[in-house]
């Protein structure tokens, strides 16, 4: 069953001059995580805002849990949780105030709201900070509170818009653990990110978007394969390079690349770990001890460059970026 379906979404700003979404389609299988990967201004936030009923598309249609987001937005709101790029909690209030308020707005009784607030604070390791103003929270704590606020009624489908943008490495890893915990409990998750590593870590499937369109999708492995197969890479001492190149050539059958400077020999291989074992055996027979030997698969960075022709970073088009931001009322 598909929990989220988006078909041909188009959204323009400034009377059609800026196309934030240009026929975007995607879907998320129930109980899985789809990572929407793309640079700033690619249309990630716009997509999430449409699916979370905050924005109407110019054309196209979308369903969440089988409910039409344009025709029946209030029904959709009952089954989703949304946690945005900017921690949308009331900073002047405490963590406790925020969670009880949002619980009440989800129509829990006062008693149930208090109970749920303590549960969530506990779950997200915020109990100690419960009575402190959000202003005193670290970036990671804020994000966790924001996420907690979107989980009050245990939504079936969760949208996370760049959940770790702006967090330090520790905050990011903590957030990942929290998200992985949710996924284990069976929540369907659509997550946007501009971090390739994050999509790799958290998502079952990845949709790469650029200029408001999905330009590739698949598992992280599939995407990597699409870009090119594995390479055998050996770093050895300078005196051994020739012999190593010979061995690599035999194992690979492809074009061998020797980089004298980094003393690295590499070549494409098709037989996976077998090639690695073969190479190790041959090296051992000759008594050569390589400094490093590895089977390298292309990283998602390589994938992104191969697909879009540019690195996954802020796009030059500042205008589009500004529109996107205005769309989300930054």
């Amino acid at each position: 069953m598909k929990s989220v379906i988006a078909e041909n979404l188009v959204k323009t700003y400034d009377k059609g001059k800026v196309r934030a979404l240009d026929g975007l389609s995607l879907d998320v299988e129930e109980g899985t995580v789809l990572g929407v990967l793309g640079p700033n201004g690619a249309g990630k936030t716009t997509t999430v805002r449409i699916l979370a009923t905050l924005l109407n598309p110019d054309s196209g249609h979308a369903t969440v849990a089988g409910i039409d987001v344009i025709k029946n937005p209030s029904k959709v709101r009952e089954v989703i949780g949304l946690s945005g790029q900017y921690a949308a909690v009331d900073e002047t209030l405490t963590g406790w105030d925020n969670l009880t308020m949002f619980s009440r707005l989800y129509h829990l009784s006062p008693t149930a709201a208090k109970k749920r607030a303590s549960e969530l604070l506990e779950q997200f390791s915020l109990t100690d900070a419960a009575k402190r103003s959000i202003k005193t929270y670290s970036g990671g704590m804020r994000r966790r509170l924001d996420l907690a606020a979107s989980l009050i009624v245990k939504p079936k489908i969760l949208f996370l818009d760049e959940p770790t943008t702006g967090l330090d490495p520790r905050g990011r890893i903590e957030m990942w653990e929290v998200i992985q915990g949710l996924v284990k409990d069976g929540t369907t998750l659509l997550l946007t990110t501009q971090y390739l590593e994050e999509a790799d870590q958290l998502a079952n499937e990845i949709a790469v978007i650029d200029h408001g369109k999905v330009i590739a999708r698949g598992t992280s492995d599939q995407l990597k394969k699409e870009v090119g197969g594995e390479r055998l890479e050996i770093v050895a001492e300078a005196k051994d390079l020739n012999q190593v190149a010979e061995i690599v050539g035999k194992v690979s059958g492809g074009k061998v690349l020797v980089e004298e400077g980094s003393r690295q020999v590499s070549a494409p291989v098709t037989t996976g770990s077998r090639a690695l074992i073969e190479a190790v055996r041959s090296l051992d027979d000759l008594g050569i001890h390589p400094l490093d030997i590895a089977l390298k698969r292309p990283s998602l960075d390589d994938v992104f460059i191969a697909l879009t022709g540019h690195v996954a970073e802020e796009k030059k088009s500042e205008e589009l970026d500004a529109k996107e931001k205005r769309g989300r009322r930054k």
Binding site: L54, G81, L105
Partner: protein, 267 residues
């Protein structure tokens, strides 16, 4: 449905009152300012403006003027508060919740209206301290304050529309100032309108701030002496005219604001 619409609004109002408890500075400063106005006008202008009526000093006329000015500025708080919520993404979160579409704006205007109770009470005490003595009896004074609160509530709805229309809290603040400041001064609030050029006199006479001020003066036991420049209906019937204005403001701005709230999302 209706039950939720009301309880959702009240939860939003509660949030605002909670903010005042968590950050008491807001409340302190929003009361200091009007009190400062009371003192400044009382002692700076009080000596040089004559009421023209023996036995009635300036402060009696001034207090209703400052009350009205203060509640008229309610919309500043509303506009800035909403613009901030918008900027910070809180409005997005509220909008992704299964709550009544008008709860956020209704809750907001109620909260800002409630804040006026505190502000007016403090101002009233400050006024009393500098010689303001309403002479109309307890019931009429209470009615006067109720009148002021209603006006503040109506103005808050103007603030909702401004707050949701501008792009940042700063802009909201500036926009409100430009809109409201002239209104409060092109009126009978602080000085007789008779000194103004003819065209301004007419404007001042029909200005809702003037009718409010005149209405409050009546309720606090004074003749409406500041600004009867013609025998026009608003200056003869300030209370009725003020009520009509409030109904008009709410009839226009409540639906507009609610629609704006719903549509800002789906543009």
């Amino acid at each position: 449905m209706i039950k939720y619409a009301i309880s959702d609004s009240l939860i939003i109002t509660k949030r605002q009152l909670l903010q005042l408890i968590r950050v008491p500075e807001v409340l302190i400063f929003s009361t200091i300012q009007p009190v400062m106005f009371v003192l400044l006008f009382r002692y700076v202008f009080g000596g040089s403006i004559s009421t023209g009526i023996p036995g009635v000093d300036y402060v009696q006329l001034l207090m209703p003027g400052i009350f009205v000015q203060t509640v008229a500025f309610t919309l500043a708080g509303t506009a800035v508060g909403l613009a901030e919520d918008m900027q910070k993404g809180l409005i997005d979160r509220f909008r992704s919740l299964p709550i009544s579409r008008s709860a956020v704006v209704f809750g907001r205007t109620l909260g800002d209206g409630a804040l006026n109770i505190v502000v007016l009470a403090v101002m009233g005490l400050a006024g009393y301290a500098v010689g303001w003595r309403p002479s109309s009896g307890f019931f009429n004074v209470l009615l006067g304050f109720a009148f002021l609160l209603l006006f503040g509530f109506a103005m808050a709805w103007v603030g909702v529309l401004i707050g949701l229309s501008v792009r940042s809290a700063r802009v909201a603040n500036a926009a409100v100032f430009i809109a409201v400041f002239p209104l409060t001064f092109l009126s009978n609030a602080f000085a007789p309108t008779t000194g103004m050029p003819k065209a301004l006199q007419y404007f001042a006479e029909w200005n809702p701030v003037s009718t409010m001020v005149a209405g409050c003066r009546e309720l606090f036991g004074l003749q409406n002496i500041f600004g009867v420049t013609a025998n026009s209906w608003p200056s003869q019937n300030p209370l009725e005219m003020s009520l009509i204005y409030m109904v008009i403001i709410m009839a226009i701005f409540i639906p507009l604001s609610v629609r704006k709230y719903i549509n800002t999302a789906s543009k």
